[in-house]
Symmetry: C2
Subunit: 240 residues, 2 copies
Amino acid sequence: MNALTVKPTERTNGSPCDKCRVRASNFCGALKPERTSLTQVHQSILARRTPYQAGEETEDVHVICDGWAACTVRLSDGRRQILSFLLPGDLVSASALFKTRQLFSVQTLTDIRYCKFSRSELQKKLMEEPQVFEELMKICVAEKDQADQLIVSLGRRSAAARIARLIILLMERLSARGLVRGQAFDFPLRQQHIADAVGLTTVHVSRVINMFRKAELIDIAQRQIKIISLRELQRVADAR
Amino acid sequence: MNALTVKPTERTNGSPCDKCRVRASNFCGALKPERTSLTQVHQSILARRTPYQAGEETEDVHVICDGWAACTVRLSDGRRQILSFLLPGDLVSASALFKTRQLFSVQTLTDIRYCKFSRSELQKKLMEEPQVFEELMKICVAEKDQADQLIVSLGRRSAAARIARLIILLMERLSARGLVRGQAFDFPLRQQHIADAVGLTTVHVSRVINMFRKAELIDIAQRQIKIISLRELQRVADAR
DNA sequence: CGGCGGATTGAGTGCTCTCAACAGGAGTGG
DNA sequence: CCACTCCTGTTGAGAGCACTCAATCCGCCG
């Protein structure tokens, strides 16, 4: 972690992640106060930073409390691929529990609050608490399933289908966290992020998004998105 | 499992996976005879079968002893995406240990010998034997890393780079298992498999492979591949 | 010999990219 | 308050990589 971009806040003990905007259905939620004595540190970072650079060594494991981030890979010629978006409540990567270096970087899209655990402490907890273990394995499986779905999208789906799927997936994930009101939710992604997530260029993303707008599938404005016709959007997501 | 395609062989106890063509650096290897009382069943299947269909429920976890298979996803219009190739020694999927239904099918490319473990027995063993646990987590991490690499390829690399990477990755994986002689190894993939693995059409794969041949990077014949110039192939794999 | 799976090749198409210009909004400094 | 820059998104024109369609070929096998 780059100290310049990190604003350390307070240190707490025994009450894990009480600052999480989201409490339910996430890893943090499994670390219930009554059976955890984990040391944790809450910190925050500004948007548009790279708090973790691919290949760096870390002692800690991170959970996003609030804000959006992304796991990214940058190629030598500057092109970027986003592997996944990190939403409030997300463990940054299950792999981080089992190895000290990752092949992706982490970039913040918005200002972020996050919570830091010691890897070794958490590993021990994992073996002692079957429920924590259970929860982590669920995350592992979910991460792999999401990666597999993205592979199918990138390998075999059209630009419109990929973008439609991304939007639907984000809505589902946010919905599970109670962050969707009606069919609308915060949408801090720039078209550059969408392009890098689904393997397209910003120019083409712009065209597709405007197609969606004109077809009255979605409405994006003021960093908010509203799904106007989920049914139609799903049709696009499944179409060739 | 479709009983018609499965030819059950013998049942053994206490000597895990003694029929594996590959012993080193795999999950099977971690299940050493001296501390395992796992029930296992060895079976075989013919090439070109689908021993597991996406969504089916299973009680067992499978390890490939010999032969090649693939995890595949089929879209409604018939297009297919290969998520990964399964090589001798591979656990079919780490996820299979933690959930009963997978979102991919398993298709055999060659005749296969494999070894079947009970999920529940293996799960118990996992908690009792830290080394088994360790090994499984390594596999989880490796699976995720491979998926992430494929995402980057599909999202941001050219056809030639994707194919070159696939070939290099297969060589590395087989090499770790001692299945590469010089720079040559068994290569049962049809061009259709390559196409479905890297998100292209067979026609285009044919053109790229022939470019590689003419550039004297590789030689494919008789279901064998020989890497003539690994250095050049790596250049192609890294090029735009 | 005919049939089948697989690979090759050509011609034409089209989806997505590249290049480039421009517009609007937010923030900054004078 | 205005000029300026940066960031983001939009739009047009043209190009190219990979696709589709289709014909052909080859090796293998019953």
